[in-house]
């Protein structure tokens, strides 16, 4: 009655693991072939995110957006404004305040052929969904022995939004990037936000996409055309030879401010915007450190066991001999996020603290 079991264990040769079924990757081009970052079409960060999602939803009907207030309210932060009108309530779905439930539900939907975009109003709220997003999504492919993947995007605001107190100000990158099986992108500007989010939606693995409430209103040129920014390639936000500033997300702007101020003192900083944390473009860091021989890492999450520690460790492992000074990092201070305006400002990394760190490194090595 039962036939013999003769498993075929031949090697998988496709670029995309067959567990997620038919999958088309976008075409990635080199940085200099991407559309120009200069232009007249200036839109907000939130509009760039909306454009990325809308373009992908027009292209692929399996993509849908779910989250608290994404539909009728037009988005708690107006990221999804107008999307309900275009795509209707079956694809722009208001969820109850039930992160554990809807995040888990979307993981099941992703296993079964859909491509969900799950909006967390804040990544702080994702903590109640820790089991599905950490225990299921990144491990499904492995745990099923390569039978099911989990193509899903989780996105939302990360980091201190401005006097929200400690429970609403989480930077989850240190916690979550620890888990193998997921990818993590943290854009710092509208142009990258669009290109990275489009790539995230087209990626067959679970992608954690971290935005910032404080940047949603930032304006910059964003090309109308479609473009995809590959994961794992840092952007050189500023050329310099004195010290390399490594950062991602919102603190990239603090680095740029500090770099401008330092330039007045004749210190030219090179600023690297990592764009993705996992993968982490250590190659670009090495290349820069070989030129500057000094590195300061700026991270708006806590220092203990976080992304800054990981970056430092990788620098020490890969280009220790090129350093004239041990790597230095500027993090948020190692306390819960305070409410009072002055305390919160002192808690976050800022241009002053970055400039101070750079001066220290330079002084010790010249």
């Amino acid at each position: 009655m039962t036939t013999a079991y003769t498993p075929d264990l031949s090697k998988i040769t496709s670029e995309i693991h067959p567990a997620i079924g038919h999958w088309e990757l976008p075409t990635f081009v080199a940085e200099h072939e991407l559309p120009s970052r200069d232009g007249d079409r200036v839109i907000q960060f939130r509009e760039a995110l909306r454009e990325a999602m809308s373009e992908e939803m027009r292209r692929d009907k399996t993509v849908f957006l779910i989250g608290e207030e994404v539909a009728e309210y037009n988005g708690a932060y107006k990221v999804s404004q107008g999307m309900l009108d275009e795509f209707g309530p079956k694809r722009i779905i208001d969820s109850p305040i039930s992160e554990n439930g809807f995040a888990g539900m979307c993981i099941g939907a992703a296993m079964n052929g859909l491509k969900p975009i799950v909006e967390f109003m804040s990544w702080s709220f994702s903590l109640v969904a820790a089991d599905p997003i950490l225990n299921n999504a990144p491990k499904m492919l492995y745990m099923s022995g390569g039978q099911w993947g989990c193509p899903i995007v989780f996105r939302g605001n990360d980091g201190a939004g401005g006097q929200l107190g400690s429970t609403h100000s989480w930077c989850v990158e240190g916690l979550y990037a620890n888990v193998p099986g997921l990818k993590m992108a943290i854009p710092s500007n509208p142009y990258d936000a669009k290109g990275l989010l489009k790539t995230a939606i087209r990626d067959p693995d679970p992608v954690f996409f971290l935005e910032s409430e404080r940047m949603l209103g930032d304006k910059a040129h964003v090309p109308e055309e479609e473009y995809y920014i590959p994961f794992g390639r840092a952007r050189k936000a500023r050329e310099g030879d004195a010290v390399t500033l490594v950062s991602w997300g919102r603190p990239v702007h603090f680095c740029m401010d500090a770099a401008e101020r330092l330039a007045e003192d004749g210190i030219e900083c090179e600023v690297l915007d990592m764009r993705t944390i996992r993968p982490l473009d250590i190659d670009s860091i090495i290349e820069s450190v070989q030129k500057t021989n000094r590195v300061v890492i700026v991270d708006q999450s806590w220092p203990f066991g976080g992304v800054s520690s990981e970056t430092m460790a990788q620098i020490c492992e890969t280009c220790f001999d090129w350093l004239d000074h041990q790597p230095v990092r500027v993090n948020t201070r190692d306390v819960p996020t305070p409410y009072a305006k002055g305390l919160e400002a002192a808690y976050l990394p800022n241009a002053d603290r970055i400039a101070e760190a750079v001066h220290k490194v330079i002084a010790a090595t010249t």
């Binding site: 969820s95 079964n112 390569g146 990818k183």
Partner: protein, 368 residues
């Protein structure tokens, strides 16, 4: 106008099934029983590691519920999952090899006893965290409805999401039920209520334990109780509910009362229950119950479709299959850490994902 009436009792859905179908049920239930007996032996011989949860006693649930849905209807469940895997059609050798941690196992030795996945048979996994499979099952069904309604590529489907009575207390399950009812998601939560959440009896772990259906009704979900020791009864009740949930694209909730003969896991000394209680349930054994029905003459309310000799022959055949599965698992190759440790981590591996490891795809899953 008066409708025609009949004195005959309402037909049971299972009455319409062929003898072959019911004999297959008997076969599958006995296969699970025998398979689990050998699993326990292999565990005691330390050939199976980790946690291992035995399904013996509950066979009528997996076989009866599975029979009530179509093959392409997704199924997801918790960690007591060998029975459902076999009922869904997983090859016993793939199931046993997985527990032995072999590359030819259904999850290439990466999942183990608690994580039985079978894509060709639409079994979306055993899952290890209590209750975690309930949002997943809701999502599997959400996707089916989306395919039917938005993509217009599929028929109406229903997902069976099994959970134990211990899982009903988890917040995830409450959230899942709310979403399922709110969105109209065709998922049926089957509580395989064996009376114990590990070693904690149901009256000690959940409020209103004798009226679990309230937990479904509270969310506007059609909720029923089923005597889960009689497979015909399981099928009869499940078939009606499945058809309704499929048709209306609504969720369902089932308090399926069953009993496990073994401890929670292999390491359970079972101090929380008496031998008399176990014996009492064994006297209502679901396999014996079905066998009796199938052996009894048609005039005696049975089917008369299997003799004592044929039953012995069936048991013998099953025993051989299970022994073959054991032998296969024993002799199968271990996954090679050089090639298999890092595979299946990313569907689209790229550079610099890890400071220590590079990822690739490795061997094809044996079931695909």
């Amino acid at each position: 106008m008066a409708q025609a009436t009949t004195d005959k009792p309402a037909a049971r859905p299972s009455d319409a099934l062929s003898n072959e179908t019911l004999l297959k049920w008997l076969y599958d239930m006995q296969l699970i029983r025998d398979f689990e007996a050998r699993t326990m032996q292999a565990y005691q011989q330390a050939k199976i590691g980790g946690f291992c949860h035995i399904y013996s006693g509950q066979e009528a649930s997996a076989v009866g519920c599975t029979a009530a849905v179509e093959h392409k209807d997704p199924i997801v469940l918790a960690y007591r999952d060998h029975g459902h895997a076999l009922a869904r059609g997983m090859h016993p050798a793939a199931c046993m090899a997985e527990m032995f941690g072999k590359l030819a196992g259904c999850a290439k030795g990466k999942g183990g006893s608690m994580h039985m996945f079978d894509r060709p048979n639409y079994l979306f996994g055993g899952h290890g965290i209590v209750g975690a499979q309930t949002p997943l099952g809701t999502g599997l069904a959400f996707a089916e409805r989306y395919k039917w309604e938005v993509l217009e590529t599929g028929p109406k489907r229903v997902c069976l999401c099994f959970l134990g009575d211990g899982a009903i207390d988890q917040g995830a399950f409450h959230e899942a039920k709310n979403l399922a009812s709110l969105y109209g998601i065709p998922v049926i939560y089957v509580i395989e209520n064996n009376g114990y959440s590990m070693g904690t009896a149901i009256h000690r772990h959940t409020a209103n334990h004798d009226r679990l259906t309230m937990r479904g009704e509270a969310y506007g979900i059609k909720s029923i109780e089923i005597d889960g020791l009689d497979i015909r009864n399981v099928y009869d009740k499940m078939k009606v509910l499945v058809d309704e949930c499929r048709d209306l694209q609504r969720p369902g909730f089932v308090d399926l009362k069953t009993y496990r003969y073994q401890g929670h896991s292999m390491s359970d000394p079972q101090k929380y229950r008496t031998k008399e209680e176990v014996d009492e349930f064994k006297s209502q054994d679901s396999i014996a119950n079905l066998l009796d029905y199938l052996m009894r003459d048609e005039n005696d309310g049975g089917r008369g479709c299997i003799t004592e000799d044929e039953w012995k022959a069936m048991q013998k055949e099953i025993k051989e299959i299970v022994m073959d599965a054991l032998e296969f698992a024993e002799n199968a190759a271990d996954p090679d850490p050089e090639t298999e440790l890092t595979t299946d981590t990313y569907a689209y591996p790229m550079k610099n994902l890890s400071p220590s490891d590079t990822y690739s795809h490795g061997a094809k899953n044996p079931l695909l």
